[in-house]
């Protein structure tokens, strides 16, 4: 069935404007959907019948050694190489300043040779201090979950399955603390693989690596259990195993990404908004479709019920989400399927009745329940930033002023003369070369400020432009004022890509970096966001998803939310 709108004229409902979507509070409430990159990846691997195999397993009784896994596609093969280490507990830290990990990984382009494994063994365990080559696409590392890893090993060694409640409360055996790609530390530039169909979209090599890492984490607990009790040890039950994902700790290193990749952020948000708009423009539905949506909402409620965090901020949001979903289920059960433009009516009800968490969960559910209508949008979720890099110097100053006044109109609500509006400074620390957030008026860091406050910079450029003749080209202004060049570049990008800019003050005293992180991670497909402060959080990736040996017979999209008890 063609699920496209019957009405072939222009859609009656337009995309939500950037002034609604690009606010930090809303971006910090986004949820994964079928457009999220992990789900896009698994759909493709399944559709193309990729094969997976463990090629190498040289791990000793202490859990130290090397393993490798091949992902074999229709055209190419990739190899995840895993190095397992014996890390003393006192060295285990999720902080990016750590220098040792329980396991380190790289994704290699092709079938790997022993010579390449030897080369990587000298570098991958050192992570940022080592070098990988143009044959590698990803560099990553992970630490064991103290809460779960030994518990699961002990259970399996005793011949028992672990308690599912214990599994759900953590969600992973290992937590990655960085997944580097795209030319970092010597890895291949994105341009080298961007035209490979298997990597269409965003972050596909990184997420392929993480999915294979998940298999490694299972293999190593089962291996350790066998080492401990060769006669008694059992393997994980597949249904319990599937509830184990890969953890991730993410901090400020990721936060500036959204600001530094304006064309890409536009592509991501635009795909999601376009998907929502297509669903809202459906003129009619059926009782069955509305039932399916209600069923999905019940599974989302189960997911929300399992979502635990020590963060009071997130606890409040999650409690609101549970209430929202309970209310949504009641609403959908009473909903008349004969309603015109039913999904727009449902969306509008949510916009009036639900918290931001609930509204954005509803958006994901509406998208998720219309696969045929939205799945093609996944292919649009990448961007070549360099195509937007060069400034058109011929545009008149009058035109630039007009764009600034329009696209940056939101700055009118911010008084940058107020200390609280410029309280923060984004900087890079000498110690670990990672982004940090500091206090402008309490730390000597202003000279090191990174250009991550577009609103403030737009105000400064606009004031400077006031003294310039509207008829002159912007090139003449830029020659005299190179200090405004970076924001004029953004202005030109935002003029054609409305979702390219976050319409909030990114250096305000009350700004929460975790909102930026959550936005990005939801597009990855993460769930169970667990803020550990206002600047770093933990998530779970691939929880519920099929393993390589199950991909052919299970639907990864159907597993994105936990099943309801039978």
């Amino acid at each position: 069935m063609d699920a496209k709108p019957q009405n072939q004229s222009a859609p009656i409902i337009a995309n939500r404007p950037a002034s609604v979507v690009m606010k930090l509070a809303r971006m910090g409430s986004l949820h994964q959907s079928r457009l999220s990159f992990m789900r896009v990846l698994l759909r493709r691997l399944k559709a193309e019948n990729w094969q997976f195999r463990q090629v190498e397993w040289r791990i000793d009784e202490q859990g130290v050694g090397v393993a490798s896994y091949e992902a074999i596609g229709p055209e190419r093969t990739y190899t995840l190489v895993a190095f397992a280490h014996d890390l003393p507990a006192e060295q285990r830290s999720d902080r990016v300043i750590a220098e040792a990990w329980d396991a380190t990984f790289t994704l290699h382009d092709g079938v790997i040779s022993q010579a390449d494994i030897a080369r990587l063994a000298a570098n991958v365990p050192r992570q940022e201090a080592g070098r990988i080559s143009g044959q590698e696409f990803v560099l990553s590392r992970a630490n064991r979950s103290v809460r779960l890893f030994d518990y699961v090993v002990t259970c399996l060694a005793n011949g028992q399955q672990p308690d599912l409640r214990e599994i759900e409360s953590v969600g992973y055996l290992m937590r990655t603390t960085a997944v580097y790609g795209s030319g970092k530390f010597g890895a291949a530039d994105r341009a080298l693989w961007a035209d490979r169909p298997e990597f269409a979209g965003s972050f596909q090599p990184e997420l392929l690596a993480v999915w294979l890492i998940r298999s490694f984490t299972i293999d190593i607990v089962e291996h350790m259990a066998r080492q401990r009790a060769p006669d008694r040890a059992i393997r994980l039950d597949p249904d319990i195993r599937r509830r184990i994902g890969v953890g991730n700790s993410t901090g400020l290193g990721m936060a500036p990404f959204l600001i530094n990749h304006p064309a890409l952020i536009h592509a991501w948000i635009n795909a999601r908004e376009t998907a929502l708009t297509r669903v809202r423009n459906l003129p009619a539905s059926t009782a069955e479709t509305i039932d399916d949506l209600a069923h999905l909402a019940q599974r989302a409620l189960r997911n929300a019920a399992e979502w635990t965090t020590d963060s009071l901020y997130q606890q409040n949001k999650t409690a609101g989400l549970r209430d929202d979903l309970a209310g949504l289920i009641v609403y959908l059960k009473k909903f008349d399927p004969a309603t015109d433009y039913p999904f727009d009516v449902i969306y509008e009800w949510g916009a009036r009745q639900l918290s931001l968490e609930g509204q954005e969960q509803l958006v994901s559910l509406l998208i998720d329940s219309h696969a045929a209508l939205v799945d093609d949008l996944a292919a649009t979720m990448s961007a070549n930033e360099s195509a937007y890099f060069h400034i058109d110097g011929s545009i008149t100053i009058g035109k630039i002023k007009a764009i600034l006044d329009d696209a940056y109109g939101w700055v009118k609500h911010i008084n940058y003369a107020d200390d609280a509006a410029i309280a923060r400074v984004w900087y890079v620390s000498e110690e670990k070369l990672e982004p940090r957030l500091g206090e402008r008026f309490h730390e000597p860091i202003e000279p090191f400020e990174q250009p991550l406050a577009p609103g403030r910079d737009a105000v400064a450029a606009r004031a400077c432009l006031d003294h310039w003749d509207d008829a002159k080209p912007i090139a003449s202004f830029l020659l005299a004022h190179p200090e405004h060049r970076h924001i004029i570049r953004r202005t030109q990008i935002v003029a054609s890509l409305p979702y390219a800019e976050i319409q909030d003050n990114t250096i305000a005293a009350e700004m929460r970096p975790i909102d930026l992180l959550r936005c990005k991670l939801s597009f990855f497909g993460a769930s169970k966001f667990d803020p550990r402060s206002d600047r770093w959080l933990r998530i779970t990736m691939y929880q519920g998803a099929p393993f390589p040996d199950e991909l052919a017979r299970l639907d990864p999209d159907d597993l994105a939310y936990p099943p309801l008890p039978s």
Partner: protein, 217 residues
């Protein structure tokens, strides 16, 4: 600044163009350029290496020289040992703030201006004279047997004019990696990039990344 010899394993390592551009941006900023021009420096160095020209070497020399405060801002006249910044001037040329054909004296490290000329010229080569040296430049690269010679020019007059008779030579090979022999340049640029990093304090170690909660559980 001291340059330590490369470790043994550096002989086998190479750099991606992406990390090379990122390093060039940070180094340019560390040497005092505004962010917008630092970004253009990343474009220029990446373009040069992609087209087989050692942009990192030119940038290293340029940033070292730039410390001497002998830069001249366009349109002030550059004479004697006072020079124009090749990035600022190249950017102005690409923006269209300067005419298609022009002649300017005293451009420092003039190879760094070539990517901007190439971008503006598109597929149609233009002739670029750096002092006596004649190059043809288009978005496909620098069509000349003398591109390495051009690297030897610390300072030159630059004349851009329509190419009457472009040479018939194959365009230079496009590359995607920066070879291990640039270890010294990378180390030198890391020195400038380091000027953009804030020294750590106990306070920033704890608060800057938001630690404080147990992360080993």
């Amino acid at each position: 600044m001291t340059i330590t010899p490369p470790p043994d394993d550096a002989r086998h390592s190479s750099w991606s163009l992406g990390e090379t551009a990122a390093l060039a941006i940070k180094a340019a900023r560390g040497a005092g350029m505004p962010w917008g021009l630092a970004d253009e420096t990343g474009f220029a160095v990446s373009w040069l290496h992609a087209h087989g020209i050692a942009g990192l070497s030119a940038l290293c020399r340029y940033l070292s020289w730039r410390h001497n405060d002998r830069l001249t801002q366009w349109p002030d006249h550059a004479t004697g040992d006072r020079c124009y910044c090749p990035i600022a001037l190249g950017t102005a040329y690409l923006d269209g703030a300067l005419p298609d054909s022009l002649s300017i004296n005293n451009i420092r490290e003039p190879v760094l201006i070539l990517p901007f000329i190439a971008k503006r010229s598109g597929a149609r080569p233009v002739q670029v004279n750096l002092d006596q040296l004649c190059l043809h430049v288009s978005e496909n690269g620098v069509l000349s047997r003398y591109q390495d010679t051009a690297l030897l020019l610390n300072q030159a007059a630059c004349t851009i004019s329509p190419a009457a008779d472009p040479p018939v030579i194959p365009p230079p090979m496009q590359t995607q990696r920066v070879a291990s022999c640039f270890y010294g340049c990378v180390t030198a640029l890391q020195y400038f990039a380091g000027k953009t990093y804030a020294p750590a304090t106990d306070e920033s170690r704890l608060a800057g990344a938001g630690a404080g909660l147990n992360d080993n559980d």
